[in-house]
Every structure is written in structure tokens, then in C-alpha cells.
Homo-oligomer: 726 residues x 2
Amino acid sequence: MLKRTISLICLLMTLTIPAQQSGGYSLSLDDLIPGGSTYNNYRPQMPHNLRWWGDKLLCVEGDSVISVSLTEKGKKEVLFTLEGLNGLFQSKNKKISTINALSFPYPDKDNIIAFDTETDNGMMEKLLFDLEKRDFIASFVYPKNAGNLDFSPQSNRLAYTVDNNLFVSLAGVVSPLAVSAEEEEYITYGGADVHRNEFGITKGTSWSPKGTMLAFYRMDQTMVGDYPLVDISAREAKLKNIKYPMAGMNSHEVTVGVYNPANRTVIYLKTGLPKEKYLTNIAWSPDEKSIYVAEVNRGQDTCLLNRYNAETGELEATLFTETNSRYVEPEHPVLFLKNTPSQFVWQSERDGHNHLYLYNTDGKLLKQITSGRWDVLSVVGFDEKGENLFIVSAEESPIENHIYKLNIKTGIRTKLSGEAGMHTALLSVSGRYICDTYSSLAIPGKVAVIDTKSDKVHIVHEAKNPFEGIDMPEITVSHLKANDGKTDLYYRMVKPTDFNPSEKYPVVIYVYGGPHSQMVNNGWNSVRGWDIYMAQKGYIVFTLDNRGTSYRGHDFESITHRRLGIVETQDQMTGVEYLKSLPYVDANRIGVHGWSFGGFMTLNLMLRHPETFKVGVAGGPVTDWKYYEIMYGERYMDSPQENPEGYKETNMVDRAGDLSGRLLIIHGDEDPTVVMQHSLQFLKSAISNGTHPDFFVYPGHGHNMRGKDRVHLHEHITRYFDNFLK
Amino acid sequence: MLKRTISLICLLMTLTIPAQQSGGYSLSLDDLIPGGSTYNNYRPQMPHNLRWWGDKLLCVEGDSVISVSLTEKGKKEVLFTLEGLNGLFQSKNKKISTINALSFPYPDKDNIIAFDTETDNGMMEKLLFDLEKRDFIASFVYPKNAGNLDFSPQSNRLAYTVDNNLFVSLAGVVSPLAVSAEEEEYITYGGADVHRNEFGITKGTSWSPKGTMLAFYRMDQTMVGDYPLVDISAREAKLKNIKYPMAGMNSHEVTVGVYNPANRTVIYLKTGLPKEKYLTNIAWSPDEKSIYVAEVNRGQDTCLLNRYNAETGELEATLFTETNSRYVEPEHPVLFLKNTPSQFVWQSERDGHNHLYLYNTDGKLLKQITSGRWDVLSVVGFDEKGENLFIVSAEESPIENHIYKLNIKTGIRTKLSGEAGMHTALLSVSGRYICDTYSSLAIPGKVAVIDTKSDKVHIVHEAKNPFEGIDMPEITVSHLKANDGKTDLYYRMVKPTDFNPSEKYPVVIYVYGGPHSQMVNNGWNSVRGWDIYMAQKGYIVFTLDNRGTSYRGHDFESITHRRLGIVETQDQMTGVEYLKSLPYVDANRIGVHGWSFGGFMTLNLMLRHPETFKVGVAGGPVTDWKYYEIMYGERYMDSPQENPEGYKETNMVDRAGDLSGRLLIIHGDEDPTVVMQHSLQFLKSAISNGTHPDFFVYPGHGHNMRGKDRVHLHEHITRYFDNFLK
């Protein structure tokens, strides 16, 4: 069954989607920008709410839940309709208001369905219905303003938070169990936002495998500085303080509690001193006796994998320690083998790429399961027997994702996904089937089902091209050599729709360039709507993933450590040199636009290369890393105290006097991520140094403009390039 | 001595200053804008710190205090030098650090001088020095952070505030007397900022004529809403709440206390209920027994002149009541006759213009002293015998000020000031001499001394034209008829320096247009530096004082009541129609710029007449009067509850969707006057309605940009017109 062996050098891909000269309609920003009134008309039409129920693949169509055939395209069976369900529920005086509220809490029990609904007295209720008994078998009441709902089907318990506190609701009982009763405003329990949802943290609670105990985060922010946001929509503008620890300042303090609903006790893991650290990737042992925590020190160069006793909170063992001179960043909890609870899989970038390692619970490394100059991107789950893992990796190419079956014992990988592109995998409960949703620059979107017994792939859905009959630009994805002479950098170029190689066009570089990102890949969505809009207007749009971005290994990403923006700017300039070499590029009309880290990059490019860039639009930019948040800031820059020269070198506020082109800075006045202090400090410095950036504010918006205002934003950005670059 | 009788109709003036084609130097914004590095080189050079000491007219030159001849131009005598004074003080171990610190607390005693200096232990000290005794005769110690210093030479007592509290320092005593010991943050004593320095209030304390008692304001703002300003210059942006009562919301509460240092008691005037009212124009009776207060109700349509017993605080009498269906606005305290303490002069707009009325202390109106369709602008003081008052009025023309001697008994006025222009008068202590500082469009600046015995005028200083040898534009001041067919509106037009009547020029209208203002008059300073700068760049700059502005009587100003911006805009459009009728005006290139009320007017013009205005720059604009401050807002607009239709009609936020030209809005992010909520609400509405204003912020600035950043501001404004209007 070996279809592909390990390759040490990735394939370099060049892809070109030819221009499409077929119609006269010009797409508007409403068509192309999320939030636009007609945006959905130009999205590939894909199944909604895809999920497994046993080995049935479900999706929502209109007011129905459909079972999709696993082998035949377009074949489907209606399982539930809103009307039918409400007919079932009517005699019990219950009602489901939308089919999207229907859930299947027991993937392995095909007789039980669930939904959340509002009660007559203004509460919410989660109801479990037995299709065989044709009756409700459980009900959980919780308040309307509850958040972080976490249901344990194993024990029939529902955890949730209200404001700062954590509760557990039992079936049929109206009064919940209070896990916490904190009155201090800035101490919260069970919140998902601990450590800003980084380190793979997406939940603030974690039920033990049998649902008998609940691990949860407690976050104390009382020692953290306030950042004053102002809500101007009030009758008189109103203060909205947020806790915002900036790099080098006091951090918040996190602990992990364990709640036992049986005896209503809480213990805390004895994670000890210093209190400032990152408690990440919490996982229960299969026997529920222990909790594994990946503990990262504030300096973020050391990670301990610790095991705590879930009953006493005592530290049982530090299984191993990972260090890195730049930073460690565990993002995946331990994963116990299906049939061998004394062994687990651990993901680590320790050899330079993210790979899988097999450990036993004594902390002994049994073997490295995968290796090579490519990253494992995610572990999907086990096959039926537990002998193989399904993984998604960038082995085929850094700009594609593919799904593999990985034999744990032999390390042999079998590529399961078929066509080129970006694949995401959803495994059925049994481990037999994988639902593969994918797209590429040429494929708007497909859904395939992989039968992992036969490795056969059946395409069950194919979206048609939403841009059919519309003039579309030529899109090229290719690569350049970085200034180190060896690193390949991928770029995408979108040419004007009416491209004529003998003319000269203005270029807008769209840049992000920061960690945890990839702008250029072989996916339908990687081409931004605005790229197409600008191409229609006669601009070339160019995007390059510089060193510092994702899926290329730790060295590629972390080379930027302590001096963010330096190497990234060099790589972007490699792109500019290439652009200048093209006969159809007007080197006197090069602009740049980016948001957040991309706003920071826009400033770097405008201010370090004023001779090159005529126009820039920087959205929500970091201008001085000392105003940025502690965790991200210190991971990539260390603290201002530890790295004064790095903070100085990367400080855009100090360079505001170097501005010579036209620069528009845009900020949301309630941005809690890159606070508006960044932009205002830049303006202050520019004013003091006699330069003239432009500025715009989106009142009431956070770090990004969402909804219909996002269309306005892109009109505003476009207008600026039209005014000064066209 | 009658030189001029009362005229019922003012003379309409047209003035033209011809262009000056004499050099090649173009003035820079640094030359022309306050705060510019070379700004002072282009200001008329006038005597510094002019004041009377007895009948000696003093000024400062370099490190010396000079006595200016009262009859001969340029003749002067050095009275004191810094070096000489420090020689005098040396033996006493005291030092004066700058000649500007020298003061003359007893205008009638020519042997005593004073100055404020820092002590060795970090305090401040006010020292009185007797030139005859060659020794210090008094010292008052006060802290460095003291404010609102108020010295009574009569009783040798110094009142001052530190933070919220009021103190009195006695000569030679280190520990001051504490008038108040308030710990509540938002209750203050002795502050000048009560009622936002309107109603002629410039001080928060008032010594009785002999200095035996001190009247003071107490202001309680605890019931007023907070407006959150944010200081982004801190390490982490910091909240700076201000108390900002918006129209229709809770007002602060003010009372008047009287402190008696002899027995250290405080009583409060029993001003009673409602607590929300305006206690204005506090004045002591000559015998120190009573205090007169002009009390205005919150609705500002009624003013009571009340007399209180200064010892008990009891209300003794309401002398009279003034009402007006629009608003009353007393700005001048009662002025007791020099030799008849039972009679006082009261200023009122009750007959439609500001005039003088003679009352006795029973509240009986003895006579109206002045009348006519012109305004008394200020009362300068009495002559030696107390038979005549000196006043400044607009009788000659609404766009000039002149000084008159007014016989109290007969009402006969004698014009004392000579040349046409804007005159300010400073009376010597005896009442014999007036120092007349004046300028006109043709006169950069002169100082004359008027001997009121002979009414002879001697010019003692004449500034030369600072623009000599520089190309200067033609400047015209003239008038148009408003759309009511009868009201004259004055305008100023500044033509391009290289004006050629056969070309077509773009126009920038500079507008203020709000109450308490006059932009067009026959004064050197009325032509703004930016007007000249823009004229050099080829723009016509046009400014018109619409109805609603000052010195034209109550009807002219208050016609805008309850609907600010409506009539004002009509009048500005009268100016536009005139401009369009000129062959050298390009009607397709008309722009507008204004600040504060002028920013509001800019929005009115851009949004009510989008077909006319291609470009606008609105600085610190009011966009919705409900966000404006209570006192000013309710005076001109009533409250939002009382006048919903007026607030709606004048709401620019609601009209943001009508924007079609280019509009730049500029705001200081710490503006405590027109809070930034105005601009941000406008942007929010524009975004929601799909229009595209531009925006700029001056971080750390208040309602106006001051210092060197003011030059940047004008570069920024100019650039916008150059980008989109030129």
C-alpha cells in the first residue's frame, strides 16, 4: 500500500490560472468582500454544517438535514426536516426554531438527537430526544447569557460560564452547580480566552473522558494594566477598559482547577512559582487519574510536559523538557494511542519541522514517527484498529495540504487525498471514513469521501465556478530565491483583467508576513476578492510569503526572532526586484497594503524603502512592539528590557520622519488587539518630524472591520490607490 | 467738546489694500503661522507688557523696564534693568530671574515694586520692595503648583489655589490660611473655570475693595457625567476623565462663598434653588457690605440682578430682572460711580444693542446713558473727576473700534481715538491718560497716548510693515446684502499675489460664523497668515461674517437661536453667489475651511450645498449639538428635550450620507471643548451611509493645535486643497 516514500526536498510548484475573457460584468466590492450584500453569490456553493453521525455524513440544506451518499456525487437522503421534527416535538410542547440548532451529541448512537431552545421563562434549554422512544430523555437549563457551553455526553453534564463564573448543569435539575462564585471583576473561570486563545487553546473547560470531572482555567488579571477603549456610540462617550498586558509589563496569572460534581469540590493543580507562565494543551489521561499540561515559561524558550494528579493536584512527573534558543510553542495536547493508554503521540518542532513523536507515560521517547523537511499540520485521528493515524501535512508542497494515513509502527505514509490543493479532513467516529473538503486555484470546492479501508476516494460534491461568465485575471503562483541564495519564497501575482504585456501597470503589494500565516497557496480562497477587484481596475496585485510565515518549519519562521520586520522586509524587496524586472510593471507606481502585522510590514516597506513605494495603506498596524501584547510580543521579540536594540531597530514610530510617499493608516477605535496607541504614536511622531501620513478611523470597530463596513473599508483603500497611485 | 452726535445708521465701509509687488521672497508657513520658527519676524514689532504705573507708561525692552514718553515718539527712559535690580536685591540674598517677573502692585505708589521668585526650598515667594527704603517690605510664600493668584494690595493678602482648594497667604507668614479643605475630587474652590469662563468670568476669587474679605466660587461637579479622554503618550495609554455636562444632561452646581481672614469664617450666599443656574458677574459694593450677582437661570432667558449681604449671605434685594425670548447673557458686573456709591452703571442688550444704563442701588433705573444701533464694546474707566466714562464702541462702524469719552450726565460722546482701525484702551490710574494700541488693514500697529484733559493724541510708537519688500496680495473688505434684503454682511477677499483678472482662480472660503466672533474688521490681525499663504499659492481666500456673529447687536446675533447653522449658511451662500458673479472666480473650484463652529459651518456648507463645494476641511467640528457642552449649547439651542426639531435640523451626523465632495475632518484627540465624539460619530454615520470623508488626528492636542504643530496643521490643510482643489 506504500504509495509515496519520504522525500527530503519539497517539490517547487508553479501554477498559472489563465485569464478568463468571457463576459462584461465587472464584480463590485459588494460581490467580492465578506459582508458585501452580494458576496455569497460569488462564493463556491458548498455543503453547510458538514459532520459525521456514526458513519453517516450529514449536512444542512434549507430546513433539512441531509445524509450525503459516501460514494455517489449529488445523491442524498433527507433525514430530518424542521417541520417533521416539530411534528415529533409538538405533543411535548417543545419547538426547534432552526434546523441549524439540531445536534448529534452521540456520534455513535443513531437514535439520539439534541437541540438548544428558549424556554417560556426566558432561559435556554438543551434537550435530548430519543427517536426510538419518541420522547425527550434529558433537559439542561441554562441562562441566555451563558457562554463556553461544554456538554459531556458521557456523563450527561453541561458546563457553561455566566460572566466570570463557571457552572455545571445536570439533566432535569434547574439549579446548576456553581463551580466558582468569584466577585472580583478581573478573575474569570472557564473562559476560553486565557492566553489569548494561542497555544492551541480553544476552550476554557475540559471534561474527563468519562465526564466525571471537569478541568478548567482560572485567570487572574487583577495585576494587569488597563487600556482605556472609548465607546463613542453612547449618549456621552463611555469608557471600556480592557486588561491589556504589554510586552515587558505584568502578566496575568493562570491556574488550572479540577471540579468534581459528585462531591462538589475544586482542587487546583500545584503549578507553583513563578506564577507568570503559560499553562497550555491540557489533556486528561484515559483513566482520568492524571492531567497533562505543557508548561511554557514566560521567556517562552522552555516547555515542560508535566503530569499532575487530578485528585490531589500534586505534580507527579515532568516527562520531558523542550527548549529552543528562540522560542517553543506547543500547540497540540498529548494524544493517547487508541489501544495502548500507556503511550501517546506528541507533536514538536524540535528537529526544525513539526513532527510526531511516540512517548510512553514515563516520559520515555519510544520513537520519532515522522521526519523530513516538511510540517505535519494536524492529526485527524485514528483508524478503526488504532494502527494508523490520519494526518494532514505539507509534505507534498509547502503550498498544499494533503491527507495521509500514517502507520504508527512503521512510519509509512500513504497519501489519501487525490487532487492537488488544500485539503481538510473530518474523520467519522469509527475511523473508517474521511470527509475531505478541498479546493485549489483551479477548483472552487469539492467534497470527497475517503474510505480508509480501500483508500478509495469518491467525490460527493463539486461546486461550480462562481465567476463563470465574468472577466477574470490571470493568476500565477510561483517562487523566487531569497537573498540567502537558498530559501524559496512563494508569491502570487494577479494581473489586470485586460492585461496587455506591452503596457506598464501599477502594482499593489498586499502583504501580511507575520507568524502563523500563509497568504500564498493552492487554495481557491487564497486569492482575495480585493485582488480580483484591483485587477479589474488595472492594477497588478502581488503577494509574497516572506520568511517568518508558516508551514515551512521552525527556522524559516523563527529567523525573525528579536527583530521582526527586518528579514521579512528583505524578502518583500526580493519580490519588488522581481517586479521591477518585468517589462509590464511601472516601477514608479508601486504601492503596498497590509493589515495588522501586514500594516507593520507596510510601514517597514514605506519607511525603509521610501524610494520604492509611492503609496501605502497600513491597517491596524503595530508601530512599536512595546505597545503590543505580552505573549505574542515577548515570544517573537523578547521583552523591551531584554532586547532594547531589537525594539529600537524595529520601531516604526522612530522612523515616521522618513516618510516620503503617501501613507494612509487605518484603525478601529476599539481595537483590543493592536491598540490605537500604535497609530496615534506614529502620527504624533510624524507631526513632530514634519511628515504627513493620512489617517482614518472606523468607530466602534475592533482589529478588523466586519460586516458591511468591510466593503466601505475596501472602497476607502481603493480610493486612496486610485487617488495617488493610478 | 461735542465732536460727533449719535448716528442711527452705521457707515458702510469698503477698504482696499492694494497688492504689493516688491520682492521675490515667498512667505513660508513658519513665517505666517503662530508657533512657526520665524513667525515673530513677520509680526508688527510692538512694545511688550505695556502698563501704567501712576501716570507713567511702562514697557519691557530686553532686560529693562522702560518709561515711554507720553508725547514724543520713540523717546523713552530706562527705569529698571535686571542687573540693576539684582544689584539692589543682592544684599538681601534675593534674585529676580527675568524682568517680566517685575510687577507694580500699587499703581498709585511709585516707590513699591514686586516680583515672584523661587525660594531655596522649592517654594515660590512674592516679594514687595520699597525703593526708598531700599528694602523688602513684605513676602508671601506659596507652593510652586499654586494657581489663580489674586493679590490684594489694599490688605496685603495673597489668595491662591492648590489643586481643588483655596488658600490665603499673609505677609511674612509661612503657613497659609486654608479657606477650604475639600477632598472630593470634583469639588473645587476659587477656580476661574466655573461656567467655563463665560459670562465675563475670568477669575474665581474677588477681594473686597479694601481687601478685608474674599468672595470665591465653589463648583461641585460630582453630579456631572465623565467624558473619557485618553492620553496616548503614556507607556500604556492612560485615561484622563473630564467632567463634561452635555446639553440636556445634569449640570454642575455653583455657589459663592465669602471668606473673612480676620475671623477665618466662610459664609455662602443664599442663592437657593434651583441649584442649576449661572452665578455671574460678581461685584462688591464700595462699602464691602454687599455682593452683587447677576443670576441667570439654566434656561438662560432670565437674569436677576441680586444683592446679597456679604456677612450673612442673605438675599437683600432683586434689583431688577431682564428677560429675553432668545437668551440673556450678562458679561459685565455692576460698575459703581466714582463719587456716588449709591449709583452704578449696568450694561445690557435689552434694547437690541449693548448699552449703558444708570441705576441706583434700590434698583431704580435712573436713565439710559447710551443708545443707538451700535454696541458699546467695553467700559475702560472713569476720568479724574468721575464725570466721564471712557468706552470703546462700534459706533463708527461695526468693523472698527474707537475710544470715546462719555459724559455720564449728558450722554454726550467725544471720539478720542484718531485714525481708522481697531483700538484698545488702557487707562492710567488717575484717569488722565489713555494708552491707545491700534492697528488697521493699512497700519501694522501704533501706540498713542491720549491726554483726556486736552483730548490730544500723541503717537508714541509706530511699528513698521513686517511684509516690506515681499509680494503681498490685494486685500478688500466690503459688504453684501443678506437675503433679507436689508442686513449688511461684511466680507474680506484676499486675491492671489500674482492676480490676473483674466484668469480663473480657485477660492477657499475661511469661515467661523459663530457667536462671540468677528473675522472681518479693519485690523491688521484680522487677515490671517494662512490667507496670505494661500494667496501666494494662487487661491482667492474669502471670509464673510454671517448673521450670528458679534458687534452687530442682539438681533443680528440671536437670529440663529434654536437652529444654529441655518441662517449662517444662507449668509455664506450669499457670499458664494457674489463669488460666482466674479469673472475671475472658478465656480467649479470652491472650497471651505473652518475650525470649531467654523468646522460645523464647513459641514453645513459641504452637506447642504454639495453641488457648490468641491473640497472642505473641518477642524474640531460640532457635528451634533447634543454632544456639546451644556451652557453654550443650551444658550443657543435650548436643550434637546426642549428643541428636538432644532437639534434634528442642525444635525450633521444625520447628513453624512449627503457628502459628495472631498471633506477632511481634523480633531485633537484630547479636545475637551468639542469632544472627539463629534467627529467619530460623523465618520460612523458616513461609513454606514457609504460616503468617504477623510480624517486626521493630532494626538495630545486639545481643541486647537498650538506651538510648532500648528504649522504642520496648516501644511496638512494646504496639502488637502492642493491635492483636490487646485
